[in-house]
């Protein structure tokens, strides 16, 4: 299908203080699935509702308070006052943190207007706007008296990167319904400046950190200004020709400047850079109908997910360069798995899902949201992981609550970082997370993620689909989809890869114990065989729906009150790593539903470490409320022989005891003080 939306020139919106603009963070002018905007999808409780509330109530303020306190916001005031030279706080690219906070606030305000937040937001925007130069340039680290010249350090200065995040904040404000906001005007002047500086006839250059590409493409969609898309396309095409200067530690691959984007077959180098670039490239491919480029990105995604991704969805194996490693180079204990890379992965997967409709992309979004990104914020929202290791060998140091931490501190979460990209990235993701849950097409609605939310959208022919999704997900596998108004349409539910073959579904007609049903396993394929027996979710009777493949499609004339019940299996599962993942050989992970579970030291007898633990697979794995109970073997600490490579096998005779211990969700680890933890459990 093709749909034309959100390409609304600013003029159209000038007199409307608030209007509805469809589309979330991404709104392609053509795609198989159409994204929904904050006016169409509302998260109203449950697991994700709690996290969005934490974000609104705590995380946004936490970010703002920190950046005010340490002078990062004040940088804009000092530019406006002409005193920034020698007085810049923080590293070169801290502007981007303010922009990501503004983006988060904009999504939050688009979701749920709030006067106090609106005032804070406008005050921040005004301070940013005051720092803009007459020609549209806006950056607090370059170009003013006493500072390096503009664009004098494209490799490391992150100027275009920061400007990109400013545009994304403007996009969020437009999509939240405020297309006439001051930040939109600021971002337009920025985008026009970038086009003059780097566009046709301008300097032929690229930024060391991709971001401007994805931002320009989306800002083009949001404003209808095609020059911005042209500029994004130029940045994509220029990349991969060794244009950026390398250093001892960082070669062309680090910058994705080793190979043209369309020639690469896998993501490589700095993970966040690679994922942002691929997202921008796909946007350009979609808007310019460049199939070769789109196919290259899909291939890169597939090879990266098959060979360079942690079980948590985390990406990036290397600390040194925050980069992907070789295929199957996935050590648990040096997993970098930067939170921002997880966010970049969701950005890319979402674009591919819209483009293709294939549910494998939604599978990875589910995994990454729940097991990588959600691991970053502490339960109280006041501290974050920058990296997300899969094995914590020692309890490590506790970061001070009132000090900046190094970026990759490998112990507890830290309140703020010298390079603090992750907290604000988490904030903008949580504020918009519901927009990744469902889409629409000409036939109906597709439900990709489960939780408690309501969808109301109008199809191109005027039919209105309105439905409510309820689920105790990710801890409970029962999903109920209730149709809120009569409609003849197709409702598609994703069956996660981990549930395929073990899921059940039923149709329950309004007010009736059981009703007739028309079921199809996939859009365009014949209806699957019905006949599932047994009880139904929620205690209601109903008609079994055939289930095969990765989606359940129910096409019928729905009456208000009709519901589809999907039951996903929540039995704990033992998961084996690919044999080429050397670092996980001889070990298994345990998953329950969409969650990766871990063994953490607080769940072991006092004094025991997860370093000496393994799992006894001969004993049953039993489900618990949030995880599983397993038989864990604890080996006695062995006297060092002086050399750890002795013949014969050292492991054979170690005395051990077995205990029953709870495995808990990875995302929740390290919320009970310093601990050791492991995802991969040796089996012996």
């Amino acid at each position: 299908m093709s749909h034309d939306l959100a390409l609304s020139p600013e003029a159209d919106l000038a007199d409307a203080p608030r209007r509805t603009a469809r589309g979330g963070p991404v709104a392609p002018s053509r795609s198989r699935l159409r994204p929904l905007g904050p006016d169409e999808i509302v998260v109203d409780g449950g697991f994700w509702g709690e996290r969005q509330r934490l974000n609104a109530d705590v995380i946004l303020q936490h970010c703002e308070t920190w950046m005010e306190r340490i002078g990062w916001i004040g940088n804009f005031d000092r530019v406006a006052d002409g005193v920034i030279g020698g007085n810049h706080s923080g590293i070169e690219f801290v502007d981007s943190e303010i922009y990501k906070l503004l983006e988060a606030m904009a999504w939050e305000l688009g979701r749920r207007p709030d006067d106090a937040l609106e005032r804070r937001y406008r005050s921040l925007v005004a301070r940013v706007a005051a720092a803009q130069d007459d020609d549209g340039y806006l950056h607090t680290s370059f170009g003013h008296a006493g500072q390096p010249a503009r664009y004098s350090n494209l490799e490391w200065g992150h100027e275009l990167y920061c400007l990109g995040h400013l545009m994304q904040a403007a996009v969020a404000r437009i999509r939240g319904g405020y297309a006439d906001d001051e930040i939109v005007a600021v971002a337009r002047r920025v985008a026009d400046h970038v086009y003059r500086e780097f566009g046709p006839g301008g300097r032929i250059a690229i930024c060391g950190h991709p971001e401007i590409e994805v931002a320009l493409a989306e800002f083009a969609r949001a404003t209808g200004e095609s020059r911005y898309l042209d500029m994004a396309r130029l940045f994509i095409e220029r990349r991969g020709n060794g244009m950026l200067a390398t250093t001892i530690l960082f070669g062309h691959e680090y910058f994705q400047d080793d190979l043209p984007v369309r020639d690469a077959t896998v993501l490589r180098g700095h993970a966040v850079r690679a994922l942002y670039l691929a997202s921008g490239a796909l946007d350009v491919a979609t808007e310019t109908n460049d199939r070769r480029l789109a196919d290259a990105i899909a291939l890169q995604w597939r090879n990266t997910v098959s060979r360079r991704t942690y079980i948590t969805g985390g990406m990036g194996s290397h600390h040194q360069d925050e980069a992907f490693g070789d295929d199957y180079e996935l050590p648990a204990d040096r997993a970098y798995s930067e939170t921002c890379a997880g966010i970049g992965s969701v950005m890319l997967s979402w674009r591919l899902l819209l483009e293709t409709g294939e549910s494998a992309y939604a599978d990875l979004i589910e995994r990454t949201l729940l097991n990588n990104i959600l691991a970053s914020p502490r339960e109280d929202g006041r501290a974050f992981y920058y990296t997300n290791t899969l094995q914590q060998r020692t309890e490590g140091a506790v970061p001070a609550e009132d000090q900046l931490s190094e970026r990759a501190e490998a112990s507890l979460r830290a309140p703020w970082f010298e390079v603090s990209c992750c907290p604000t990235n988490v904030a903008r993701t949580l504020a918009s997370v519901g927009l990744y849950f469902a889409t629409a097409d000409d036939h109906g609605v597709q439900l990709h993620q489960y939780g408690d939310y309501t969808v109301t959208t109008t199809l191109p022919d005027g039919r209105v689909v309105s439905l409510r999704v309820q689920s105790g997900y990710p801890f409970d596998g029962d999903v109920r989809v209730t149709v809120l108004a009569d409609v003849d349409a197709t409702i598609v539910l994703r069956v996660p890869r981990w549930a395929q073959g073990a899921a059940e579904a039923r149709f329950v007609a309004a007010g009736r114990g059981a009703g007739s049903a028309a079921a199809a396993t996939d859009p365009g394929t014949p209806a699957g065989a019905a006949g599932l027996g047994g009880g139904v979710p929620g205690g209601s009777a109903g008609a079994p729906l055939g289930l095969a493949g990765s989606t359940l499609a129910v096409a019928r004339a729905f009456a208000a009150g009709d519901s589809i019940m999907l039951r996903l299996p929540m039995k704990p599962r033992v998961v084996h790593p690919h044999p080429r993942i050397d670092a996980a050989r001889g070990a298994v992970a345990v998953e329950r539903g969409p969650l990766v579970l871990v063994l953490e030291s607080p769940d072991l007898p006092a004094g025991a470490s997860t370093e000496n633990a393994g799992i006894d697979l001969a004993q049953p794995l039993l489900p618990t409320a949030r995880g599983a109970q397993a038989s864990v073997r604890l080996h006695a600490e062995r006297e060092d022989s002086g050399w750890p490579y002795d013949e014969p096998a050292l492991g054979a005779a170690a005395p051990s005891t077995t205990v029953r211990a709870e495995l808990t969700p990875y995302f929740a680890w390290a919320n009970r003080g310093p601990s050791t933890m492991r995802v991969w459990l040796p089996t012996e």
Copy 2:
């Protein structure tokens, strides 16, 4: 025992163009074992003789040519000419590479005078000397017009580090017999300058990279100047109090500035820094009779070797900070194992061996020399590894032969690096390697390493022990020690840990088929039970010597021509990793004699990768000339399922073929073009 040597004031030597000064790179004024100098131990062929010849004929010239070509040596000329400002070549600490080359040349000239080399050496020294400031300061990156001020960047400037290497070059010249060399005078002025600047009453500071400590201590020994030892002691005592400024990526631990040296229990942070510092601390402890400090270093060594050392002897798991990881964090594919860390490990182990006489230190020296340091130079001596990975997953890129490489290029060896510490470090180590082979004490001589060499030394009471060692080591396990002159003394041979329980020994009297023998298993313990039967090495008959423990001591009145025959087992051995080394779980290594073996792709059928290989332990391991033949399972490349963590076990059903393949010495890998390689072989 205590012995007083090498503390010979320069004045004593002023008129002697060449004299004998005992002691190699380290000459403690008191220690259990006494090191031998180049006048006492001569490598005259065999495995190590070949490597010393390669060093003399190729590597020294290679280093000199490169550093001339890229202007690093010219830096000294530009300082002398007053034009260095803005014209310095290379990073801040390239001076140290010239000093390490000078040290290598000095050892080589001490070992084997050569007029051409002597001329090149003196020319280089003259150029260095011409750059010295009037007050003794000597550095090409700091302190001149247009340069940063002296000591303005102690964290990263490496000034004292470079000055330390200059002193070590002077020590080598003194120990090589030229105590009146120009470099000795230059180094004295440098040491006096450092004492004035940083000694009592001077600035309280330390260098970001330890080296000055070990250098000052040894230079004190070589010159008899106690102020230099005092200065070394002050630098050691100051460290560990957070004096150095940290950065986002490098905390106090990186610099060993987190804990006082005497309070630490394990080596941590940057591996080369940690090992150089510990070496200097032990020198200070020895000279000041500081038992607590000496015991702390021994404990650090033990814990590091037990838990933080690769099977090759390599140290340092992290690329990011070139640092040790946590206990048992020893990934094969990201093994940093910097060549210089191996050299630092030999420096430290050698000091502990001299101090204690315990052969575990000689065991690690053997392993590290043969399996880590020797892996660095290419067979032709014209390219080097900076890092020494234990698993090469892809063939990687081929470094250009005429260009500088990044320091940690993970493919073939490179001719030279931006940071090129390793080639010159290899050069100075190879030039002096024989000096680590044997020691003396009041009773006789101890043989720690095997090869082809002659020892002639005079014991304190005037007895002269002269003997010849012959061996096809490391490929052949037969060692023959022939006494060259009548003497009543004790000869001790190390029995490597890997050979204990399977070694045999015999005494063969001169001119006789078999003779009487007095054997003791360890100095001070009763003679072990004799009675080994079977053939004897070299085909001679002889009397079995009892063998138990880590040394064989033979005390008797030897006649010229008497010999001791030691047969070490060369059957390939399967070695299991400690169960806490997660990255090697489910895999084994194969060793033969002192060598770690690897599977390398050129030894597999065309097109096969070591990434898909495992070992079938049910089939026999057979010895070959340099390695072993094993049954290797090759798994078919599997079609990606799209997600590498699938239930059930992915590995079970993979089709495989089995081939017989040769496992070859690790040190020799990657000498046949780009290849893949692995030390740890999965067993399934």
